[in-house]
Amino acid sequence: MKKVALYSGFSALAIVLFGLSLRTGIVQLHTSFWQLLTHHTGTDATTVWQIRLPRALGAAIIGAGLGIAGSIAQGIFRNPLAEPTLIGLSSGATLGTIAVIASGASVYGSKTNAASAVLFAVITALLVQILAPNKGYGFLLTGIAISAILTAVAGLLVAVSQKPGIQSLSFWNFGSLTLLNNQTLKTIAPFIEVGIILSFFVSRRLDAYSLGESSSHYIGINPKRLRLLAIIAMAFLVGASVSAVGSIAFLGLLVPHIVRLLVGPAHRQILTFSAIIGATLLLLADLLARTLFQPHEIPLGLITSLIGAPALIILLRTQKGQWVAND
């Protein structure tokens, strides 16, 4: 009962924010919403259907994907600190997407670009796995170190590249939905779908995996294969979003912590709810980024950090019983 209320409550909130995203912006609409639904021509129609709709849809899909990726990361590394950014996925994806643009192999928003981001994300995450000492916080620290290197290399490429469409460093590091249009959305949506399907495919095994690596092996789950599948799932989700909107801070860390508090530890439910909360939060963040300082738009990552980080601290102080202890 409580869960039904939570699902419908947050879904309703997401829908309201989605509607608001279509209504609000720098351009004032002069046509009513109902008229716009039937009239697809004119300035207002173009603003809503060509500009705001793909952006709102993108926010929902990317938010859902990043929320799910965050929850998978915590589940597969059995660590409440794990987040796609910390384990090298985001920086790998950023380098992957910038590298193909800077080399002229492909342009922003293309399928090649998104695929390269996904591939680099997988390679980086595997590299972190291989290099990390097999104890304590070794892999998180290795992830942070590798991320620093890749972010620096990506920054260097941005600084020296003359290619059009390379975007600014602020775009990649703080994230922005400004460039989302129907074309980019069509490019990344299939990648995110694959990531979501793969995530749900591993979700049940993550429950067993929470009992430890040997335990899951005894039950009949191959931990190495599970980890590889989870990394690929996260790479699809994070890689595709990074290639279109840069890396968005804190969403992947905040969402699973909210969700674990609300729906308990079963991963299938965690993933479903992470999608809803992730979509809601990113719609809200983008709405604020666009409207707070009109007509200026502020980088999305600033909003997610400014709201997400304090929210996380409050959550951690009130949260109880979900992560009892680390082995």
Binding site: L211, S215, V324
Partner: protein
């Protein structure tokens, strides 16, 4: 039958097994004893496939486990490790649901009844006492459908009442399956077992 053939294994420089061979029979209960550091848990982890022998082989019902997939190994043997990590606040019922219905042993309900686990079903596993967690952990291994059950120190956190209940359960299950129990304190429970293996 589980055959340990000419097994050698070392943890770094610490040689635990050198050309060690033994047999664990089916349809009986075997007690594996020995002092601390004699390699009891290591042997279990080798049979379980989380450690790989330096040389020699482990054959369960004719299958060399190094040739089996993780899932195929789990259909042959089930293992209760000495410590299981319960770090997420699942209910006890949700923990048991980790073993899917199609992988459940027919005797699963006997296990739940014998160890009074139905009472614990609604409780969060993270909020249980150490002894209760151990009963959940042992039961989780016993409800998995397998030919052999290997339990590492299943009595260590149990009072005499539950030690007895678990011993009775082991006796019952050993009529149809092979059971191996590790204990460093074998004296008072030896009478419940058909076979003894002592590592020194």
């Amino acid at each position: 039958m589980i055959e340990i053939k000419n097994l050698s294994f070392a943890h770094g420089k610490n040689v635990v097994f050198e050309d060690f061979s033994t047999v664990i029979a089916n349809n009986c209960a075997t007690l594996l004893g020995g002092p601390n550091g004699s390699g009891k848990t290591t042997l279990l982890q080798l049979i379980g496939g989380v450690l790989k022998p330096d040389s020699g082989s482990i054959v369960i019902n004719g299958h060399d486990i190094s040739q089996l997939k993780t899932k195929e190994q789990a259909e042959l043997r089930s293992i209760a490790p000495q410590r299981r990590i319960f770090e997420l606040a699942f209910t006890v019922e949700e923990i048991f649901a980790i073993i899917k219905q199609k992988n459940r042993a027919a005797h699963a309900t006997d296990v739940f009844e014998a160890l009074d686990l139905y009472d614990l079903f609604p409780l969060k596993v993270t909020e249980l006492s150490l002894g209760q967690q151990q009963r959940v952990s042992v039961a989780l291994a016993l409800i998995q459908s397998a030919e052999y059950y290997l339990l590492d120190e299943p009595f260590s956190a149990q009072d005499s009442g539950y030690t007895q209940k678990l011993l009775d359960l082991i006796t019952l299950l050993s009529k149809t399956t092979g059971i191996l129990v590790i204990s460093h304190n074998t004296g008072h429970i030896a009478q419940y077992f058909d076979e003894n293996i002592y590592l020194s």
